[in-house]
Structures are given as C-alpha cells and as structure tokens.
C-alpha cells in the first residue's frame, strides 16, 4: 500500500503539468461547489438556533381580497390568547416602527453621542424569553414602560466598554422624545436569523396616549391599524390541525368586518424557505433561488469531474504500458482497480485540500457579497458536512472505477505493441462529455447575457419619472405638530439655496415604497363592492410631481394649502391611471373634479397622475392614491452634481440649523432606486463567475481531448507530413472534429439557455427580449474560446518533426 502510494506520488511528479491541470480543474470545481454549498446549507439552517424552533409559528391572515397580510392589529392579542388553546405565549413585534435617533449623554460629560437607527422594535415583554438571543447582561423582561434592550454591537457603539445596564438613553422617533432605561444586552443575531433585532423597546411604552405623540393608531390595544407581526409559542402538545381554524374564528368573532379573513399559521421551519415551490405564503428566503444555486453548484461539480475523468483517461495512455507490465507480472483485475481507485481518491484528497485553501482565500469577499458570515468551521459543524464528504468520495470512487475499467479492458499484447490508443474504449463517451461541458458553458453564457440585458433594460427603461441629480435628505422621523412646523420651515429654506433647482418633501420616495395600503375606497355613484379593492397610499407635498418629473394626464396637482391642511381637512387627493381604472372610470369621462368615498368620507380628485414605475420593474404599476400632507420624512433637492462636496456641506449646515440634535443623512435617488435590483445584480455576479469557471473547466476538458487525439495520431501526422501535407491542412484536419462537437454543444446550449431564460424573464412585469444579439454573442464567445484551445494544440503537433514521431514506435 505504502509502496503503491509512493509510486503514485512519483507518477504525479513526473507528469507535473498534466497533474496540475487535473488537480487545478478539480480543485476549482470543488471550491466553487463548497462556497455555494455553504450558502445553501446556511439558508437551510436559518432560524434553527432558536431553542423553541419546533414550537414557534408566525401568524398572518389572508384578507377578503385574497391577499396575504403579515401585519395585524395589536388588539387581537388577548382574544386569541383566551379563545385558542395550546398557545403558551404570543409575541407581537413592530419591526422598525421605532426608527429614529438614539442619544446618550454620559454622566459628567457634556458631550453626547447621537445617531440614527432603523432597527428599533416595540415588542412584547417576553421577546427575549421566546427567541434565543442569549443575554450578555441584565434581565430579559421588558415589562415596564420605557425599558430598552440592546444588541451587543449597538451597546458597544453607545457605551464602549462601560456597563450599559441601568443607564438611560433618549430615543426620538415618530412617538416623540422619551427617556428609556437599559435593562438588557443580548448577543447580536446571527446572519441566518430572519429576526434582526437591534434595539428592543417595551411595547407598554406606547400604553399612555401622552407617549404616542398624537399617533393614536399605535395604541397597543387598538384594533383598527394593522402594524404588528404576531409570533406564537405553542405548547408541546398543541394540535396543528385545529390551530388555524380556531384563530380564524377568534378573529372573525372579534370584529364582524373580518368575516372573510382567514388565519394562516406558518411554523418556523417554513418561515425562511418554503417547503415546496408552490407554497402560497410569504417567506424570508427564496426556495427558487436556493434550488437554482444547488443546480448551478451540481453542474459545476459535474463538469469538473467529467473533466477529471477525461484528462485521466488521456493520461492513461501514458500509464497503459506500466499497467500492462503489471498485468503480465500477474496483477489481477481487482488489484489494478484498487490501485486506480486509490489514485483517484488521492487526487481527490489533494484537490479538496487545495479547494479548502481557495475557499479560505475567497471567504471574506464571498461573505461580503452574500451578506452572510459563512466559514468552513461552521459548515463542518453541521451534518451537511457528511453529505459533502460522501459526494466527493463517491465521485472519486466512481471516476476511479471508470478509468480502471477503460484501462483493464484493453488487451495486454496489443498495448505492449504500442496500440494502446486503439484498444482504449470510450472515445464516444469522452466526446459526449465535452459536448455536455460546452453545452453547460453556453447555457451559463446565455443566462449571464440575458440577466445583464434585463438589468440594463430595467435601469434604462424606467418610465414616467426622472431620478437624475436628485439628492434625498433623510429627515427626522418625529411627526408631531411642532415637528411639522420645523419641517415646513426647513423645506422653504432649501428652496432659497441658489444651486437647488427643484425641491420637494414627501413621506417616502420612489424605490423605497409607499406609505400604507388601504381599502374602503369607491366612487360616489358606485354600487359595486368596490371597497374591497386595495390601493397604495403615498404622502407628499404638491412639489413632489415637478421635482421627480412625473406628469399628469388630467387635471392639476393639489395646492400648497391642501398640503398644509392635510388630506383629511382639505378633502383633496390624486390618483394614478391604474387607480382610476380600478375605480371604474372609463377613458371618456373626466375624472378631475369628481368625488370618491374613502371610509365614508368624500374626497375630490384634483388630477390624474400618469402611471410611473414607483417601484422596480419587476412589479406591475399598482393603483396609487396620492394624498397631501406635511408629515415629511424625506426632502428631495435637484442639483447639479458639480462641486458636490461643497454643496453637501452647505446642505448639512442648513440641516444642523433646523435640527441641531439630528444627524445629517442623505442618499441619491437613483442609487437608492437601483438597490431594488440587488438580487438581480447578485445573481448576475453568480452567473458570470459560474460561466467563467464552466468555460475554464470545459476548455481544460477540450484541451485534454485534443491532446488525446493528437497523441493518438502522432504517427499519422508524421506520415502525412512526410508525404507533403501542409501545416495548415493538418491543423484543419485536427480541428475539424472538435469544431463539429462545439457546434453541437452550441446548438444544445443555446436552445436550453434560451428556454430557461425566457421562463426567468416571466418573473418581470417589464422585460427585455432574448434577441439575436444574445445568440450571436454567445456563439462567438464559446466558439472563439474553443478554437483558441483546439488550434494551439493542433498547431503544436502539426509543427512536430515527422522523423521523430514516425521513429517513436
């Protein structure tokens, strides 16, 4: 055994170049596979760290319109708890509801730390009991009003190394400015947690109307506004079957308006990835994406392995003599097979070791790309490691066996006479493998090109608004009357700045979302059940439409007075074309000036907004109601981006004048809008990498096959040259066969690629076409690379000295 391993190592080192290509190709494939495998297992392991994982559920409802609603009114809490058996604890969370600024004034210091924080949640008192975010200090109960628990990183940001427990913080958000007592510090949530708490405030802090800053919709016992996620911790003995129906009846009994509402209970195991592709309820992760990645990973691994087999059988011609001598010395089939499998395993171990090094090197950029904190250690601590090990070992045994069979079936005498090549079977299979590899490469190329074409399309075909040169300032989140006055003042001060060519203020911005969804809207004269239809509502001032270059198809924008009065008082609003259509207006009737009913109150439509892509082009344009109000969170200014730094400094100092305690934060509307294409961007990067890798490995495979056949035909080439064949004609002869193979692969790859990508494009409401350009570029790329690979080798053997190759018998 040791002798044979030693002799194998000698063999490897004697064929350095060959072994390097072999091992390198395999290592690259395995590394890519491990990286994707890490990502996929992490997705599957999501949320499993919760000790109560098996008993945790998320409650949501399907509303009368058949749409899934994850937000419920906080007031359902008690009635569900009382009427449904098996529930241990209900946790209501309000994610990012408390977004605002956190201020800390260290005792005995005049300096205060202040920063904006998005992830401020109001939660029920047992949050830290139910979910597993281990405590680092303090007590987990968030019972008393104005209690706060901080994640380790936020605590560190505020307090540094000093003890946070018992300290006080000032949190300023839409519910006003309040002092909170720090009760607990918990470990940062792991990256594979769907709940990402940063700052937890006790829900009871909103009990008192005086603490809500006129936002009475946020009453923790209210039943009108839906803004809470519900998580249920069940008893060990609960029955799943009755759970949904008993919660449904509890909700329906609570309020007769809920007669068409049905409860949905999702176990935590279905929360991140759906259990099947047609799972109707929302999940945090995407099963489709994960399956796609698994598929990509397996494809890459399989072409890497095919490559390995291909190159090994080429190498086998060299080894054939040694093997035949062994056969004549009396080595049995089993011994030769065992030797081949050992060799294969050894190469696999070497390649895996190199792959692990590659993975280590790529881990940091890969993690920042995926936004996860993945590591090999983490992978090895899960049972998935065995799957990986079995897969790699199985593949190397299989390939070793195949190579062994190829070698063993050849007859000793013929091999000894130098007829090794003829007696080697499996050339057809090898050709098939090369076609397979190239077809996959072509599929990757087509996918990448289509993906980027669609991305480009989405970025360039944005309809109905102009985001260029728009800078958005993220204002304070406080929405009280006093704040509103300041906001108006700041807005008009922005208008005084000479370099600001247009400006507006709004409660949200394109690319981020709307303000809320609503139903209960119908035309004055409508008798239908129109009030069940859903609309999005967007809050802005009257300057919003001009600043974002959004056009009207009819009527006019509401007035400045309407903005000051708000929609409730002014009774004015605007609709977009989709909303007008949904309301039942025909093209001929004038809409501007007509009235609609919203929860029984009459509103006048001042104008109709042309449909524009408020959100990314993945989605169809929704029916939107535009309402006037001074409740501003975002200030948009249009400016020329020359000398940007100075302009930003000026904006910053103006901001500080009006909001001395608020940090200045801004972003560009266009960049922010493009964040919606992050998933497509990432997918693009994955595919570009996969395509490069596939092509590289496929070229190695092709290179191997060319090497094999030219080696086989060395003597023939020599004779042809002696007989007067030109170098060109020999290169043509040698390349011709491979060109045919590549053409076949191209045909297969293009058809499959085009089919798959046309399916993918169906995910987009607005999509590009898979045109001839895609086919031409893919063909050109794949073909060009293949020709380069083939002709190099062909030229080399065509140039070889014929005297040598003929004599070398």
């Amino acid at each position: 055994m040791i002798t044979s391993i030693r002799s194998m190592l000698r063999l490897f080192s004697r064929q350095k170049g060959h072994t390097a290509i072999l091992v390198g190709g395999l290592a690259l494939g395995i590394a890519a596979f491990i990286l994707i495998f890490q990502y996929v297992t992490d997705e599957w392991q999501s949320n499993k760290f919760h000790k109560n994982f098996d008993n945790l559920h998320r409650l949501s409802v399907i509303d009368a319109a058949g749409e899934s609603q994850l937000y419920l009114p906080p007031g359902y809490n008690a009635s569900i708890k009382n009427s449904v058996s098996g529930i241990k604890t209900i946790i209501r969370t309000t994610e990012n509801l408390g977004a605002g600024t956190i201020q800390y004034l260290a005792a005995g210091s005049s300096e205060s730390k202040i920063f904006k924080e998005e992830s401020i949640f109001y939660v029920d008192k047992d949050y830290l009991h139910v979910f597993t975010f281990p405590l680092l200090a303090g007590h987990p109960d968030l019972t008393e009003p104005h209690s706060v628990a901080l994640s380790a990183s936020i605590a560190k940001k505020i307090f540094g190394t000093s003890d946070p427990i018992g300290q006080t913080l000032v949190i300023d958000n839409q519910f006003g400015r309040h002092i909170f007592n720090v009760k607990a510090v918990f470990e940062d949530p792991p990256s594979n947690s769907d709940l990402q708490p940063g700052v937890l405030l006790s829900f009871s802090s909103l009990n008192n109307a005086a603490d809500r800053n006129e936002n009475d919709w946020a009453d923790p016992n209210g039943t009108q506004s839906s803004f809470c996620h519900y998580y249920l911790l069940m008893d060990d003995t609960f029955e799943t079957s009755n759970l949904e129906s008993s919660i449904t009846s509890s909700i329906q009994n609570f309020n007769p308006e809920n007669s068409d509402v049905n409860a949905v209970v999702q176990p935590f195991s279905h929360l991140h990835l759906a259990p099947s592709l047609n799972y109707p309820h929302p999940t945090f992760g995407s099963l489709k994406l994960v399956l796609l990645l698994v598929f990509v990973a397996l494809l890459i691994l399989s072409i890497a392995w095919i490559n390995y087999i291909n190159l090994s059988t080429v190498q086998a011609i060299d080894k054939a003599k040694g093997i035949m001598v062994r056969k004549i010395m009396g080595a049995g089939r089993k011994q030769l097979m065992a030797r081949q499998i050992t060799e294969s395993l050894m190469l696999c171990i070497i390649s895996s070791a190199i792959a692990l090094v590659i993975v280590q090197l790529l881990q940091t950029p890969f993690n920042s790309f995926t936004g996860k904190s993945l590591s090999i250690q983490q992978l090895f601590s899960t049972p998935w490691m065995w799957t990986l090990g079995i897969l790699l070992t199985g593949a190397s045994i299989l390939s070793g066996t195949y190579i062994g069979i190829v070698l063993n079936t050849s007859r000793p005498v013929q091999t000894m006479r130098g007829m090794a090549s003829k007696s080697m079977s499996g050339l057809t299979l090898r050709r098939g493998m090369v076609v397979f590899q190239f077809a996959i490469s072509v599929i990757f190329i087509v996918s990448t090109l289509v993906l980027y074409k669609q991305l480009h399309f989405m970025k360039s075909e944005l309809r109905g608004l102009n985001l260029e040169q728009l800078l958005v300032i993220h204002g304070p989140t406080n929405s009280g009357d006093e704040q509103a006055g300041k906001n108006v003042a700041f807005k008009s001060a922005l208008g005084q700045i000479p370099f600001v060519t247009a400006y507006c203020a709004s409660n949200n911005v394109p690319g981020k979302g709307y303000n809320f969804g609503t139903d209960g809207i119908k035309r004055l004269e409508s008798t239908l059940k129109d009030e069940l239809k859903n609309y999005k509502v967007f809050i802005s001032d009257e300057k919003y439409f001009d600043t974002y270059s959004i056009e009207l198809s009819e009527g006019k924008v509401f007035s400045q007075e309407d903005t000051y009065d708000g929609w409730g008082k002014s009774g004015k609003l605007m609709v977009n074309e989709s909303a007008a259509k949904q309301l039942g207006y025909s093209d001929k009737t004038p809409i501007a000036g007509s009235q609609i009913l919203w929860d029984g109150n009459a509103f006048e439509i001042t104008g109709v907004v042309k449909d524009y892509n408020h959100l990314g082009l993945q989605e169809a344009i929704e029916p939107v109601i535009f309402v006037p109000s001074v409740s501003f969170y975002y200030f948009t200014v249009k400016l020329n981006t020359e000398e940007l730094d100075e302009k930003i400094a000026e904006l910053k100092s103006l901001y500080a004048e009006y909001y001395p305690t608020e940090p200045f934060e801004f972003f560009f509307a266009e960049e922010n809008y493009d964040l919606q294409y992050k998933q497509e961007q990432q997918l693009g990067t994955v595919f570009i990498t996969a395509a490069n890798l596939a092509i590289l490995i496929a070229c190695l495979g092709l290179f191997g096959l060319v090497m094999y056949t030219t080696k086989q035909r060395t003597k023939e080439i020599g004779i042809r040259k002696v007989l007067g064949a030109s170098i060109m004609s020999i290169v043509k002869m040698l390349s011709g066969e491979f060109i045919r193979l590549v053409l076949l692969a191209l045909f297969i790859g293009l058809s499959i690629g085009a089919y798959v990508m046309s399916k993918w494009l169906e995910n987009f409401e607005y999509r590009t076409k898979i045109g001839w350009d895609i086919f031409i570029i893919s063909s050109f790329l794949a073909f060009g690379i293949a020709i380069l690979t083939v002709s190099g080798q062909a030229i080399k053997s065509a140039l070889a000295n014929p005297a040598k190759s003929i004599r070398n018998d």
């Binding site: 004697r14 001598v325 010395m329």
Partner: protein, 222 residues
C-alpha cells in the same frame, strides 16, 4: 513441459482470414534452451505470446505442465503463468516510476509473498546480477544493458520454470548482448531454467540447444 497441437491463429479482415500461425505442433522438454527464428512477420512473437498465455490461439490445444491451458479459466491461467513463467522483453518494459528494487519486487507482490520474504529474494537477485549499487535508481538512470539485467532479474524473482524472452538483445549493443546471452546460458545450465527466446541473430540462436525456424506462420525446419 510444453505441448502445442495444431495451433492456428488468424486475424479476420472482412471475409478473409490472415493466418499468423498455421498448424503448429511443438513439444518442448523441461530444461531445454530453444531459439525461435524467422523473418519479420513470420509469427515468432505471436507464438511466444501463445506459449506465455498472453494470447490465445483460435484453434488447437496447448498443454503446459499437464494442464490444458485453453480450457482453464482466466483466473486459473493467470495463477499458472504467474507461478511458472517469467518474461523478458526487447524494450525491457520496466515501470518508470518504480526503482530498480521495486521493479524486481513487483511480481512478488502479485504472487502474494510477505514483505520480509520479498526483501530477501530481491536482495538475492541484486547480488546475483551485481546491481546492488543500483537498487535505488530509476530505469531512466540506467544504460540499456543494465535495464535488461533488471528486466531479467525481475523475470526470475519468482523462480519460474520457464523464461520467455522476446528479442532480449534487440535494443543492446553487441557486447551487452553477449553478456545477456552468457547469462541465459548459465541460467539454463546451472539453474535448470527452461528458456525460449525469439531472436533474429544466428549467433544468439547458437547459445541454445534447439532452433525452430518459422516462415509464414509454419514451422519450416528444426
């Protein structure tokens, strides 16, 4: 020891048969030193391969040490030749990635000798052929004559009764060739090893005690 009766060997090309061996009848006694001669393509090597069980005849029967070779199963045949037959080749056919020592050791591994036994046998061989100093060298570090010495040592390591040599001196110069032939003669006379060699050279053929001439696959004369 060896008895060939009505041996035919042919290759089918389309509908015609090209005969390589025709009606070979041959008996070889234990302890003899036979040289097979004949022009290129006369079937010398094929005959040697049939005797060595590397190739099978299409017709006829072959008895080796009282066993009907063509009726044996593959496994039994391998056992038989592994135990009793050693091969020496014109092109030496040493395994390139093994040292001299390991090359000689290889057949012993396949014959199931234990490690310590192998070591003593190989050391004996190295001694006998005076190549102890070369034992850690690789084949490409040796001259042709030395490589053939190793090839012979390897063939003899399992102490076979029959040594088959296919033009053993074909790739050697005349001085090296003479040394090898002297060695063969000594092996035949002192160690009683039966030797069958294929050769082109009249001179080498005289080392043996019997010459078989082949022409077009037939035994011409003895």
């Amino acid at each position: 020891m060896i008895k060939l009766e009505k041996i035919y060997r042919w290759y089918q090309t389309g509908s015609t048969r090209n005969f390589v061996l025709r009606d070979i009848n041959l008996e070889i006694e234990e302890g003899s030193f036979v040289s097979i001669m004949g022009p290129s393509g006369s079937g010398k090597s094929t005959l040697l391969n049939v005797i060595g069980m590397l190739d099978q005849a299409d017709e006829g029967s072959y008895t080796f040490m009282d066993q009907d070779v063509f009726r044996l199963k593959e496994k039994q045949r391998v056992e038989l030749y592994k135990k009793h037959i050693g091969f020496v080749f014109q092109a030496y056919h040493l395994i390139d990635e093994l040292t001299v020592f390991e090359n000689i050791e290889t057949p012993l591994i396949y014959q199931g000798y234990k490690g310590s036994e192998r070591k003593s046998i190989v050391s004996d061989m190295l001694d006998r052929f005076q190549i102890v100093g070369k034992k850690d060298l690789f084949p490409n570090q040796l001259s042709g004559g030395q490589q053939q010495l190793v090839g012979i040592a390897r063939a003899l390591a399992g102490s076979p009764k029959l040594l088959l040599a296919d033009e053993p001196t074909g790739n050697l110069n005349s001085r090296q060739g003479e040394e090898i032939m002297d060695l063969f003669k000594k092996l035949n006379e002192e160690d009683k090893v039966t030797i069958i060699q294929v050769t082109h050279s009249e001179k080498n053929a005289t080392y043996g005690n019997r010459i078989i001439n082949l022409l077009d696959g037939r035994i011409e004369q003895e």
